[in-house]
């Protein structure tokens, strides 16, 4: 049994984690584009870093980073921007510098003989911020040696800062990836490669951890380039993201099973009914066959009696034959061909059901195929047939449709979900479900409308939300429509709903007319050779 509550909880947790991750991503992006919102720690770090670096360089009288390495570098990311600004500032008058940063002294002061004070103050602030930020910061030199780490950095990897400073930074990467990292480090400093992204590294204990990293090139007091790397630990997020993906797969499966489970009752009955009369017919016909066999036996006896026996024997056999043949020729005998016919029809019916069921059980095979949506709807209606057993009327208003590239199994799932919902919404005696298809504005339109109880406006906007359900516990997972939404979205289509309480509900699906068969080839195909395009089935 699937533990929905648990899955639901972990999925929610994971969704939150993914949100956090997206936030982090936005932050990084904003950083790299210089569009940070005000009052963010990262902004402080950045501005302070630039001021401090600037002050350092000015104080030490060192030349700026060679402009070449900046200009030749791949598209600047992260801190390249401020490096560039820094370079510009070096070559121009102080008045051309950007607006003063909130935590920095006015630039004019820097050149007015109070450099030492400014430097000290700025450095003090920078140190406080760097030590308190949860962002790990490390400075590495050309020889791969770690020159500085903040507390957060050391903490991420499980070391004390003193254990890292002076070591090669490869202490924190997978042993077999050391050469790769040394190469990357050299190429980064030379401006050829970027560090930005997610990486797998090693904790002190040897267990793998995942980090989101970005880096910047700065020039050290010796005029040689250094790499400053900013690191945040995303192991937890990666784990949750993974869990989320797994729960989603599980939920899809659960939803599939639940709608299948609802169908089982109907399907079992639909199959057992023909099985009932087919079996009974066979037993009846078997008994009849035995009687006929007896009769033939008697005829053979008669033949030998005619040739070798007495007239009395012949007469006796004849009367036996009369008796047997009278017994054979009863109502069952007269109706036997009809029994054979109905048995064959019964077997065909079972075959038909199994075929439809098979089409449905292939839900996870997202094989794209040129499909006529009208046929998909018909096959879904067949599967959902038992639902209409009351007085519910189904009106099909199909237009002429081109075949389009879709996953037929997934389309069937969407249609089954919408049709099942419609059946549940309508009155079982006066219910009417209209299924309309057409081509409009170069798109295939599918409308499934019912005259049921409708959806109140407050629910209407939530019906595509995962887990939203108005059904009783155990009656629905609240995922059917959200999965339908996802499937249609994946097909680059749209799904909309209009509903009026007491009047009915209308779902409108549009699908692009895509006949590109290359799409199909790019998908792995698990279809059996007996699929519908083969000469065998259907």
């Amino acid at each position: 049994m699937v533990d929905y509550k648990k899955i639901k909880k972990s999925l929610k947790k994971a969704l939150r984690a993914v949100e956090q991750m997206e936030m982090l991503d936005i932050l990084m992006r904003a950083q790299s584009m210089g569009q940070l919102p005000p009052n963010m720690i990262a902004q402080f770090v950045m501005s302070e870093f630039s001021t401090a670096a600037e002050a350092l360089e000015q104080g030490a009288g060192q030349p700026a980073l060679p402009p070449k390495s900046v200009n030749d570098a791949p598209p600047p990311m992260g801190y390249d921007e401020w490096l560039k600004k820094l370079a510009q500032r070096q070559g121009s008058t102080p008045m051309n510098t950007p607006a003063p940063q909130p935590f920095s002294q006015p630039v004019a002061l820097a050149n007015s003989g109070q450099t030492d004070d400014a430097l000290r103050q700025s450095e003090q602030r920078l140190r406080t911020i760097i030590d308190s930020t949860p962002l790990g910061i490390v400075i590495t030199n050309e020889d791969c040696k770690i020159e500085y780490v903040n507390n957060a950095y050391a903490e991420i990897y499980g070391y004390h800062p003193s254990e890292l400073i002076g070591q090669s930074f490869t202490i924190i990467v997978q042993p077999d990836k050391r050469d790769f990292w040394i190469d990357l480090h050299a190429k980064y400093l030379a401006g050829y490669k970027d560090i930005r992204g997610e990486w797998e590294v090693r904790h002190k204990t040897g267990k793998p951890i995942y980090i989101l990293a970005d880096a910047a090139r700065i020039t050290g007091p010796d005029g040689r380039p250094r790499k400053v790397t900013f690191v945040s630990d995303i192991s937890q997020l990666i784990k949750l993201k993974d869990e989320a993906r797994q729960s989603e797969v599980q939920l899809m499966q659960a939803e599939k099973m639940s709608s299948l489970g609802q169908m089982v009752a109907g399907l079992a009955h639909e199959m057992n009914t023909p099985l009932g009369f087919v079996r009974n017919n066979l037993e009846l016909l078997e008994a009849k066959h035995n009687e006929i066999k007896d009769l033939i036996g008697q005829y053979e006896k008669l033949r030998s009696q005619i040739m070798y026996g007495s007239p009395n024997d012949v007469a006796m056999i004849l009367s036996q034959i009369d008796q047997t043949s009278a017994k054979v020729k009863n109502r069952l005998y007269e109706q036997s061909s009809s029994l054979f016919r109905s048995s064959i029809e019964g077997v065909d019916r079972i075959q038909d059901l199994v075929l439809n069921l098979r089409n449905f059980s292939r839900l996870d095979e997202a094989t794209m195929k040129l499909t006529n949506i009208n046929e998909s709807l018909d096959s879904t209606l067949k599967i959902a047939g038992h639902l209409f057993k009351g007085g519910i009327q189904v009106v099909k208003e199909y237009g002429v449709l081109p075949s389009i590239m879709v996953s037929p199994a997934q389309m069937n799932q969407v249609f089954l979900n919408l049709i099942t919902n419609a059946v549940q919404a309508v009155n079982e005696h006066t219910g009417k479900i209209v299924i309309r298809t057409a081509v409009q504005h170069g798109k295939v339109i599918i409308i499934i409308a019912d005259n049921g109880k409708g959806i109140p406006p407050e629910n209407l906007k939530r019906i595509f939300d995962p887990f939203f359900t108005t059904k009783d516990v155990g009656q629905g997972t609240g995922l059917g429509l959200s999965i339908a939404f996802k499937i249609i979205e994946k097909h680059k289509g749209t799904i909309d709903v209009q509903s009026q309480v007491g009047k009915g509900t209308e779902f409108i699906i549009t699908l692009p007319i895509n006949t590109d068969s290359t799409l199909a080839q790019s998908q792995p195909s698990y279809a059996s050779p007996f699929a519908s395009d083969s000469p065998f089935a259907e």
């Binding site: 009752a265 009955h269 009932g276 009974n280 009846l284 017994k327 009863n330 029994l339 109905s342 038992h386």
Partner: protein, 311 residues
């Protein structure tokens, strides 16, 4: 059999009806493709045995059998269906009061036996009814203590206590936590109704009720359970002729009404010897393959002589 039993088959699938009428060529068979049609036929003909499908458009089998019970209370009701929908099974006990629950596809021989037996019971019932009008309508007075004795079996002592408190004013109540003690009490006292939980200290409640049925066929049995299980329910119908399948928790009032109607049912049963046949059936036809075989032989011999006579 000196009466010609009439059978009514109700199924929305005409091919089932055709197949069944040919299986029961020896009987007068009426068929209907819907519950409504079936009820009409029931009002016009003296039907002995009704066999109905469950899943039918408009009127379900259980609903049809409930109404059939009112039109022809003496007819034996059998539900024959392709899927054991849990609600349908439980309702077939509690609402349809069915004699048997049969799964499709069926075995021709077994179905013939069941129908033959059902016809025998129905024949007895009709003889009884024609001799003496039904007295079931005479409801016992609400206030006075009746002569009927009831047995409650449950592994939970406090439940037993509350049952006893609730019913003591009207019936003599016996209680037991085990099946073996309960069977002992059944031997000692003239108990009318047994209500058993599905879980007893020494055995399964359903098995206990089936044992009660076999030893004391006149006693009306009721199962009280916290778990709804189609298999158990079907077993209880077919082997135990259980009167009700109650799902806990239930309101006191509904339990009171159930016990009252069970007592009335007991009264009718006690005065009607036909019910004793169910014990005979359990002992001879289904519980022993050898007997079934010989019975079948006897039947086919019988059929042959009938055929000879008619030809």
């Amino acid at each position: 059999m000196d009466y010609n039993p009439q059978l009514l088959f109700v199924d929305d699938e005409p091919m089932i009806l055709q197949s069944l009428s040919l299986l029961f060529e020896d009987y007068t068979v009426l068929t209907a493709t819907s519950g409504e049609e079936g009820l009409k036929l029931l009002a016009q003909h003296p039907i002995s045995v009704i066999v109905s499908d469950q899943r039918m458009p408009k009127m379900t089998g259980v609903e049809f059998l409930r109404q059939a019970k009112e039109i022809a209370p003496h007819a034996i009701r059998i539900l024959m269906t392709g899927y054991s929908d849990l609600d349908a099974v439980i309702n077939s006990v509690n609402i349809g009061e069915v004699f048997r629950y049969i799964n499709k596809p069926w075995q021709a021989d077994k179905l013939r036996e069941t129908i033959r037996f059902a016809c025998a019971v129905a024949g007895q019932r009709m003889v009884y009814v024609s001799q003496k009008p039904a007295t079931a309508a005479a409801a016992p007075s609400v206030e006075a203590k009746t002569e009927y004795e009831i047995l409650f079996v449950d592994s939970n002592d406090s439940h037993l206590k509350s049952f006893q408190d609730f019913f003591a004013s009207k019936y003599t109540c016996h209680i037991s936590t085990t099946a073996s003690d309960a069977l002992e009490l059944l031997r000692k006292y003239p108990i009318s109704v047994v209500l058993s939980d599905s879980m007893l200290n020494d055995s399964d409640g359903a098995d206990f009720l089936i044992a009660v049925r076999n030893r004391h066929p006149e006693v009306v049995t009721i199962l009280m359970t916290g778990t709804r299980d189609a298999k158990t329910a079907i077993k209880l119908i077919n082997d135990g002729q259980v009167y009700r399948y109650l799902v806990k928790p239930f309101p006191r009032e509904s339990l009171r009404l159930t016990v009252e109607s069970a007592v009335i049912h007991y009264k009718v049963n006690r005065e009607n010897p036909a019910m004793m046949f169910q014990r005979l059936e359990n002992d001879t036809i289904f519980n022993s393959n050898g007997t079934t075989q010989s019975l079948r032989d006897v039947l086919s011999a019988l059929r042959q002589t009938l055929d000879m006579r008619s030809s």
